[in-house]
Symmetry: C2
Amino acid sequence: MDEDLKAIDMKPLFFPKTIAVIGVSKNKVSGLKFVLANYMSGYVESGGKVFPINPKYKEIEGYKIYPSLFDPEVPDIDLAIIAVPAENVPNVVRDCGKKRVKFAIIFSSGFGESGLEDLEIELRKAVKEVNKYTRFIGPNCLGVHNPYSKVCYYPGSVICPGNVSYVSMSGGHTGRLSHWLVSQGTGVNNIVSIGNSVDLTAIDFVNYFREDPVTKVIALYLESIPDGRKFMKVLKETTKIKPIIIWKGGQTEEGQKATKSHTGGLAGSIEMWKAMAKQTGVILADHFEFFADAVTAFSVKYKLPKDEKVCILACGGGIAIEYSDLCIKNGLKIPELSEVTKKELGEVFPPVNTSFTNPVDLGEYGYIPYNFDKALRIVAKDPNISSILFVREAERFVLFQNVLGIPNMEKITIDLMNETTKLIDKPLFCSTSPNSQEVEHYTYRYTFKEKMLKIDVPVSDLIANTCRIIKEMVAYNNYLKRNAKVV
Amino acid sequence: MDEDLKAIDMKPLFFPKTIAVIGVSKNKVSGLKFVLANYMSGYVESGGKVFPINPKYKEIEGYKIYPSLFDPEVPDIDLAIIAVPAENVPNVVRDCGKKRVKFAIIFSSGFGESGLEDLEIELRKAVKEVNKYTRFIGPNCLGVHNPYSKVCYYPGSVICPGNVSYVSMSGGHTGRLSHWLVSQGTGVNNIVSIGNSVDLTAIDFVNYFREDPVTKVIALYLESIPDGRKFMKVLKETTKIKPIIIWKGGQTEEGQKATKSHTGGLAGSIEMWKAMAKQTGVILADHFEFFADAVTAFSVKYKLPKDEKVCILACGGGIAIEYSDLCIKNGLKIPELSEVTKKELGEVFPPVNTSFTNPVDLGEYGYIPYNFDKALRIVAKDPNISSILFVREAERFVLFQNVLGIPNMEKITIDLMNETTKLIDKPLFCSTSPNSQEVEHYTYRYTFKEKMLKIDVPVSDLIANTCRIIKEMVAYNNYLKRNAKVV
């Protein structure tokens, strides 16, 4: 087998039986937080063992502290977390090797990213000496989270298992995508913050995630990559099997300059990244909101549209125009519907305040879930279109319930759509088109979106993102048609 | 005075003493809703009088119904709402003229936008006959709303007075921006949905809003404009005094095609609109979220940045890079800070996990409101920059309150900023950088944003919008420098 594509067994990292936290102190933002995180998350309760280490203490907040990794009471360690001052890290790295710790996360920062190049050189030397025994994540990182094993890097993490595996060079962006996915019920699988990556890089994790059956979609936040040739090869091999979405931080010269003091790598131009994405079938994101929406869309049992031809189903002329503008700007097409489709729509909806050309304006009657469902089924049969983009303003369900006298509009909508998506082969995309920021209205959108994702319909508040996701899904489909047979 | 710039007295429209609703029936989505709206909003309670008219009824839902506009009990009418079937509209229009009604809103649709060109021609003829007595809004529109007079077009409208006046060709987009502004506490002033505009057009309203002292910012959603030359003249005259933000619906060929069945006008290419915006100092929006954020930013007591040079204040390297990318992509500059600034920041913040070049990464210590306030004051003095873009993740206040032991972090942040904005002359822009969709976290962001707007700091969840707003404000400032002296 090709060495570049060989996956390291990362079970001891994501499903450790034992965790040592080296450098706990009374400061809750350093080592102690890992101890608390893993006690609070249920890791210890489900049989995991945590060994806090610091020769200066015997006990902190009721936890027994061990003097050293080599204390006779400390067993074999799957995962060590190194949270000591930067200058001590190289020695602790060597200790991890000596102890035959399987994986170690270097939480400490203050290396190349802070201009301390000498210390980073020393660290890299120490890592090289022992990495046949121990593999390292970091420095300058948060480490790993897995809701199945309940390993956590932050106390109070919500355990929400999903199928998204994520590697990030930024600690902030690690938490951000992860919280976002958890908060919408999508959940996560393997989450890893890799910081400066002196040993294991995104490449190693992508190789592991490719083979991991629970991972259905791979998300990466990267500022640089150490080996472009190898990375390309690994991406190509992986996108044939599951989608990869990369948010490249530092897309502009100024942004790249800032990456230097952040994770310290060499960034490469955005043109290079774009070319790489095109050649490997990777979806490229350029800001958080799109990144999060794209990862979400691929985390459901998605259908890939066969081409750019979209049917827009709206209630209201203004919104139909807005969606048309955004589809076209994002490279999609809004072809004329067949005469049969128009005729059938005309049998369900009145002629005034409606329009049966594409974009379709169903008028106020389109708010009635039964009528809307009929419209979905009618347009889905049209040979001129390949996907359906529709609006459901969940925040107005209660208003329309009262006006139209249909109680429980949300439930009816979801139930009908759940049946309909199974009967039609064209993908559906939903946009909620927010009207109000009030908490009550937000809550309607929020619960509706969660339910739509559960029935595998991609949904977003931001129509521009949805249009771009449709376009990226078409591109990914085309990429697979050209390349997947090679598998 | 130039006839093109003459403002019609619209007091009887926005502050009517009497309203006639012609064509009430038991159907709650037609005429009756205007009656209900104005009873429920407090219009009647504050002395306004509503006269529902229909010869077929004597009473509906406890309201007395009058047989005709010419009934002796119906007094002089400031505002009539015409909600009869399209084919009867021309006759009712003539009746309004005969009765010397001052303004009439034609709510009915089914004219040019539905392909019924003949009926629209007849309507235009009738309007022309009587518009020396009566001025008309619509057809195919919602009409007007004013929270000061409590005139409403929808039952249950929240009365929230503000300084934004808004004209929209789409009923849906009328409600959308209006709800959005009300839901964030910004409120609205004169709101008008004009539909196909057979008589009064956006031009007439802009002329009125220019003279209206309560209006501080003008928002327009337009799909077409009847008289480009006159419109340009009016825009030029107005932007010298107050900002105008236009969302152009139908920016693409397909979008324009869709406007035909919506409001029926001739749209003009987006290039033409862009050229017009540049020549008149108008800010052009291309989707709802930017439109809403831009209107909001101009609704506060804003300061215009003198040029593109922005200082980014972030907590976290990933976010600093994200904001740098988006600033540069939106045509802004992130210049190097002066040595004095870097030195002073170094006196407040530690050297590890921070970066004092622009973008500034304040690290975790930047979450402490007192430190953050010091950073604001330090960078505000830097001669190399003209505005400050900063991050406050309101949803994490509670978390950091507990970690850092600072209770009431939101209040301290707002109070300090309220003092600081008064002392510094450079504009501040805030981004909330959402991490979580949970209702609890959303609520923290929502209340924080409302409070930031109250102390006149523009704020948004969407960083791309904020960057674009800064750029547009710089452009508007440059426009004013070149043109405002002509006033």
